[in-house]
Symmetry: C2
Subunit: 541 residues, 2 copies
């Protein structure tokens, strides 16, 4: 027997944008749409054309996708025809092959929020869907508050669905808009809906995570017969977010009974890019990726318990439900325990450093990491600093140059126009190839704005490094994170700096000090040294 | 018909400590245990006595709790009697009323990981549980890998459970150790186990979140008959974490059918402290609380969509599945939309500022917030800076003092012992009551350590503020967060500073600048000004 097709519908660009603090630019939307298309999503909901300039621009600029591009809107308002509703017209004007319209199915919302009769609402649904179909579009109907509506007035809620279905909607999407419906109820109500005449292969499910069960609710709906599932990357969305496609997709591909019953548009190859896609979205949002998230989190396969870590080395299936590599993720065995050395050798191997089992530096590296981590360093993200530390112990780190001293001044005072302005100045003294070089830079950019002391330091450090100058000219600082690792008066600051170069490499380095400028300088120095290592520079003669 | 009692078992202090990056001190464990006890948890698992000094010290120091304090350990090893197993002896020596022992139930793990026969394993389980009961302890048996074991060899897995039950275990806890079992399987297997002779009121469930369904899996087990549920606060735990009690507890208390069928130890009053308890744990972990988490997240009741926000103002049940106040959480309606003004008045009211509807400053406050947020400010957390901004527009902010200028120098060079050392020095010039005051401080603390430029600035600013001196003497900086809000060369830095005073108040302020020192200074200034407002100081004569 062949597998049934399950349709994946992504709403990261619409419902995902309802996340508090999230506001995508058009360029970011285009980047996310390309990633969704590469992943193998069937429908990409791009936004609500006409609702804001960003969404409208997205539909103007988006290139052809393999996925069906979908515009979102709402059913026509009462008192005008579908053809004369300018809100609906703007949605159609986006010219997408598919259009998804949200409409009411909960009697309470029809009468209180819309203030129209139950019959008028049904007529609006039918007329709106007919209008889409008449324009040659694939129509989807988002049944808002469906589960609450069904519990309040099942016959009416079902009548709304049937109106959309009979008007030609390809998909009827059951939305748990407020997120309060538990999985067992979702399963039961989906079964009821199918028994009442809406075929499962026309039914979609749209859940929210307000009880932390959005993924389970979606799975329950699929098990009950729904054949489209809606969600977002990383579970973005209004309030607690939507069903997390980043968790759902691996379950559908890897877990019984789903993997045996269904096929989805995501290939094994695309699945192996899922971790990268998830991190890319966090990167766009300038968020630190959550470590403990299912399948793709940095801790999802981290084995901290001593008994687990030692068993994992014998056989990973002892404490892993799936292979992390399937999602492009990786196993983490903390270096502090007995599993440390072989794990360390694996990490070094990934950096191109093949080290023999008997190498005594291995133990020294582990000791140094342990000691530095107790001082506030963290090498989970700062892989480049870790590599430098390891190279140092292995005797594979050239001494490129020596920093003799630096000084930074930050001043804020009135300028000649009686306006408060700030300015930083940095002096860095280095010794390269036996020659002492003094460099000074200030924090003013070309537009006359103060960019701060770390900027001034970074410029002074990179200003004259003799024969290394060319190698570091294409480096730039792209992110900067600071964390106080101990509170109170003993506060210690950890700075993580992300750098990029012209070859598209991106690397993270760490510095720790009670002095934030000094911690930043340490991380900057590591960034420069790693770049010189990677570019194959050799040390002082 | 009376409600059935459901037992809540917390393992934040044991499995929660397996979270990557989490390492509780004994003092922190004591603080968490007190919070769990106040919440109404039935069992508090404190750790593994003997496994490390922190866990042992916890059991020595923990005061009497209403909850049953539980020590964790493992079943005796083969080849020795339970009485002669020193690992088990250390667990019993903690003297807790209850002891939970983990043991194997998956044949593969017995033969590969333990390397003993299936019969020996069953004998070990029985002997260990009997030993606990013989010592007058309440015994719990954690059936490791039970669901995988049941799928591989059901008769053997069931025999293990029966051995524990017959030896006198009060609870048999079915553990989904690797986290790969989906809710529908958990429900089915729990039903099978009950049919095979283990009564539901002796059965517990312990799930992990590796497929993002740990909460749903726990609910499925309860629905199938299990009567104890294990989890952790904020879903801490190995890999992706354990079932999140912070999400489970509100569902059990507020949602059908659970609220009608069961009673748990958490009162309505304790539930109203849940948000605070969740934030306290993040505070101990020095983590930024996740906003999108169910029930207790800062965004859990944030209504960003325009249609939602306006409906919420008419009737909150339109877009809220439960009342946020029940968990001590609050509704957030972003100020940028039409719902803004009434929401703003509510927020001001909470700060003790009763403002009339017709007050023209309301619109100005909203405009200023909108403009500043577009520059990188964020008032979600920095409530104190928000209050100052509002007071300023309302004419309720005295001008306490004026900052004329400041200068900070950070230097790093060799000292007389040829060691690289760093030092910061700050000069702040303020005008108080018409008098100009120059203050200088350095960043060296009493132990001779450099505490950085923000420390030096903070000390110089607080050194001489004339008649305000007494009010600010009990302030201290307790946390400091930095975020680049725009990447690249146009980088803008946002600094959030948390301050505390001797009266236990804690407040957050924000500063934004391309210059991190300047952003810090702005946040420091706001911190001082808020403190002066709160202490009822008046402005310059």
């Amino acid at each position: 027997m062949g597998k049934e097709r399950l349709s994946l519908y992504d709403t990261t660009l619409r419902d995902g944008q309802q996340t508090q603090g999230v506001q995508f630019s058009t360029a970011e939307k285009l980047r996310i749409a390309a990633a969704l298309d590469a992943l193998g999503i069937d429908y990409i909901e791009g936004g609500w054309p006409g609702a804001n300039p960003t969404d409208s621009a997205f539909f103007d600029e988006v290139p052809k996708t393999r996925a069906t591009l979908t515009a979102f809107g709402m059913t026509k308002r009462a008192g005008r025809s579908a053809a004369n509703d300018e809100v609906l017209a703007a949605v159609l004007n986006a010219g997408t092959a598919a259009v998804c319209l949200v409409g009411k199915t909960h009697d309470f919302h029809v009468t209180t929020a819309l203030g129209i009769t139950l019959e008028e609402n049904i007529a609006n649904i039918a007329a709106s869907v007919s209008h889409l179909v008449g324009q040659g579009r694939e129509a989807l109907f988002d049944a808002e508050h469906f589960f609450d509506g069904y519990k309040a007035n099942a016959p009416y809620a079902l009548d709304c669905l049937r109106a959309a279905l009979e008007a030609g909607a390809r998909w009827i999407v059951l939305c748990d808009t407020n997120g309060g419906t538990l999985p067992h109820e979702i399963g039961q109500i989906v079964r009821d809906v199918i028994e009442n005449g809406v075929p499962g292969d026309r039914l979609g499910i749209h859940t929210h995570n307000d009880t932390e069960t959005a993924v389970a609710g979606s799975l329950a709906a699929i098990m009950a017969g729904a054949r489209q599932v809606q969600g977002t990357l990383n579970g973005l969305g209004e309030r607690c977010g939507n069903a997390n496609l980043t968790a759902l997709i691996p379950t559908l591909l890897l877990k019984a009974p789903y993997k045996d019953k269904f096929e989805i548009g995501v290939t094994d190859e695309a699945l192996a890019g899922l971790t990268r896609t998830s991190r890319m979205l966090d990167d766009i949002l300038n968020r630190v990726p959550q470590k403990q998230v299912a399948y793709v989190g940095a801790s999802a396969f981290a084995h901290k318990a001593g008994l687990h870590a030692s068993a994992i080395l014998k056989d990973p299936t002892t404490y892993e439900h799936v292979d992390p590599a399937l999602m492009g993720n990786r196993r983490v065995v903390p270096m502090s325990n007995q599993a440390g050395q072989s794990n360390l050798r694996r990490r070094l191997g990934e950096m191109g450093l093949e080290v023999d089992k008997s190498e005594p530096a291995l133990a020294r590296i582990l000791d140094r990491v342990k000691e530095l981590e107790s001082e506030g360093y963290s090498y989970d993200t700062a892989q480049a600093s870790f590599e430098l530390l390891a190279r140092d112990e292995l005797g594979l780190l050239p001494e490129f140059f020596e920093v003799k001293r630096y000084r930074v001044t930050v001043e804020r005072r009135k300028n000649k126009y009686n306006k408060m302005v700030s300015l930083s100045e940095a002096v860095v003294v280095v010794k390269v190839d036996g020659e002492k070089k003094l460099s000074v830079s200030e924090s003013m950019d070309e537009a006359g704005n103060d960019r701060g002391p770390v900027n001034a330091l970074s410029k002074a450090l990179a200003k004259d490094l003799g024969r290394y100058q060319e190698a570091i000219d294409d480096m730039r600082l792209v992110d900067f994170k600071v964390r106080i690792t101990q509170g109170g008066t003993e506060a210690v600051t950890r700075v993580i700096i992300d750098s990029e170069d012209g070859q598209g490499r991106r690397w993270a380095t760490v510095g720790v000090s009670a002095n934030i400028v000094d911690a930043s300088f340490e991380a900057l120095l590591d960034a420069v040294r790693w770049k010189l290592v990677r570019d194959g520079e050799t040390g002082a003669a």
